[in-house]
Symmetry: C2
């Protein structure tokens, strides 16, 4: 946290002089939570000695700074979001902030409830992976942002919502994956999953581009655009039958893979951009009697330790997921400390981990 | 939630009459969070019509009921705890409660901070997987419990802490796993992981029993006792060299497995009670050129979808992890609703999922 006026003592300096943790000092000076009488006395004495009460304490009293950050994530049972939260939590703790998590389950109404709950608990700022949705997406997040609560989006950016954001460079990751498969000789590369289907009927490349652009969960759209760009650069025509647009579950992936593998011109490689997509492709490959990588190549986006002990170990685009959370927390904490830069949208790069599930087409 | 006086209207009845959700009604009547003016008016009218404000509202005002539950878990990046939180969160939401999670990272000091943070945020009750530790384990949890905050322990029970608890039947699960391997013909069954080592020097069966009994994270001790009971019932002498007592990480498991597999009388089967233990055993088996299940049998406790697509699919003790969280929330919510039963300690049973990593010893 930056100190806007170096001549004034900071909360950290009070904590250091009192010989207590920053969060204990914040509780005493913010007059919330619970600390021992001993600690309370030491902090108040240190604050008085440093002349602290004339500035930051007054601010903390009037603005109600609570040294807590609220976090709203889609589904904490997904290891991706669990790692994001871990990163947020660690970075926040290092800066003296407590962290409170609420699950939104990708449901815009539950997200709104979660945001209101956190605002009711007087968090200083909110980090959220916005759920999107057809009606008034992120209504409560926008409301909180407009009333002055610092908000940072993580993993996604909603169209038209100008809060700071930290996302994976999903377009680059998907393009890298497709390029590697093309370099290995593949021309029939399937993508699971692609943009969410809008409407019925046959899907064209134009549909896919349009859906990717309007996708409220921008990561999915970005990945499709990276995939399509790699095909185009290699002069390979895009086949909409190789892009999954159905239900985004393991079962949905299995259905998509089954249909694709049974059809004319079956894919010789898959890009699976979620853990459930990786599992679905592996399950369906086994059901079809296909051996990786001789019969089918696969690049996954899930850096689970299971991927390394799989036979063959799965080639993976390792995303710095915990770093994603840490960086979101750093941006938020800088804002809370007075950072007034224009909007920040940072992209984190992935790293390819070669493990043995890619080979030339059989 | 039970209604202690049936002649008085409940919060649910007010919500129903107002045509709003229970949590919206709670926010209006508890005077926290944010709701639309329209909702606020409807709820206040319904409360007045039902005569609600003379009882529960007054109680809510004076006791500060906030319809929020605090959760303190060891490490949310561990899929086990992520699923526990998911269960808590879903059950709480169904009863109109919001849920706030804080990570403790298995560190007693961070757990204390987390509990104080949640108490400061006026949660109605707390669900925690206590971290244990040498000095004053669960100090803040005990403090919160004694001052009247409802507390439910989940996944573990700390010695001497009499809050309600919901745990897996870990002793039964480990005994079942060992019995299955013994029934398949194995007599050299390794356990990863066993109780934490206390002190140096050679480990005896007496040490192991003592460490299991004093283990503050009771699940580990219980699993060892179930394993030992199955061996004893089959008349197989316990070999301490087959029980891991070192560092509880993937690398620690690999070192343990490497030593055990290289020694005289190497194990023909492993029980791996954590996801990291499963990964460590699989990695080391591959490094040693052992093929499952012909050269080595394995029963894991991790019900990841990766286990089903592994080659061979891993035989697993499926623990109803999400249910563990749900049930903890149900007990807590009943307590908040006035349930005055004596202390509840519930054990949930595991289910064996036969998948193909168990065979007779080669």
């Amino acid at each position: 946290m930056t100190n806007p006026d170096p001549s004034r003592p900071t909360l950290s300096e009070v904590a250091r002089r009192a010989g207590v943790g920053r969060s204990s000092a914040a509780r005493v000076l913010g007059n919330y939570g619970s600390v021992s009488e001993h600690t309370r006395r030491r902090v108040l004495v240190a604050a008085a000695e440093l002349g602290y009460e004339t500035n930051e304490l007054a601010r903390s009293m009037s603005t109600g700074v609570t040294m807590t950050i609220g976090v709203v994530l889609a589904d904490i049972a997904n290891p991706f979001f669990a790692a994001v939260f871990r990163g947020i939590s660690d970075a926040a703790r290092a800066a003296g902030y407590g962290t409170l998590l609420v699950n939104s389950d990708e449901d815009p109404e539950l997200e709104d409830e979660a945001v209101r709950l956190l605002v009711g608990k007087q968090v200083d700022g909110i980090i959220a992976a916005p759920a999107g949705g057809a009606h008034a997406p992120a209504a409560a997040l926008r409301w909180a942002h407009e009333r002055g609560t610092a908000v940072v989006q993580v993993d996604r950016t909603l169209n038209g919502f100008d809060a700071d954001a930290v996302v994976m460079d999903n377009r680059d990751a998907a393009r890298t994956a497709a390029e590697r498969l093309i370099a290995a000789g593949h021309r029939r590369v399937a993508l699971a999953w692609g943009p969410a289907r809008q409407g019925r009927g046959a899907v064209t490349a134009d549909h896919l581009r349009e859906w990717a652009g309007s996708s409220e969960i921008s990561s999915v759209g970005e990945r499709y655009l990276g995939y399509a760009a790699a095909l185009e650069a290699a002069g390979i025509p895009l086949d909409p039958a190789l892009v999954m647009t159905g239900e985004q579950t393991i079962e949905g992936v299995r259905r998509f893979a089954r249909r694709a593998l049974a059809g004319e011109g079956r894919p010789t490689a898959f890009i699976a951009t979620e853990v459930d997509a990786v599992i679905g492709v592996l399950a369906e490959a086994r059901a079809a009697g296909l051996v990786l990588p001789a019969d089918l190549s696969l690049i996954g986006f899930d850096d689970s330790p299971w991927a390394s002990v799989h036979d063959p170990p799965i080639t993976t685009l390792r995303q710095p997921v915990q770093r994603l959370g840490e960086h979101a927390a750093e941006i938020l904490i800088a804002r809370l400390g007075g950072d007034r830069r224009p909007r920040v949208v940072d992209h984190l790069a992935s790293e390819t981990v070669d493990q043995g599930s890619v080979a030339p087409p059989g």
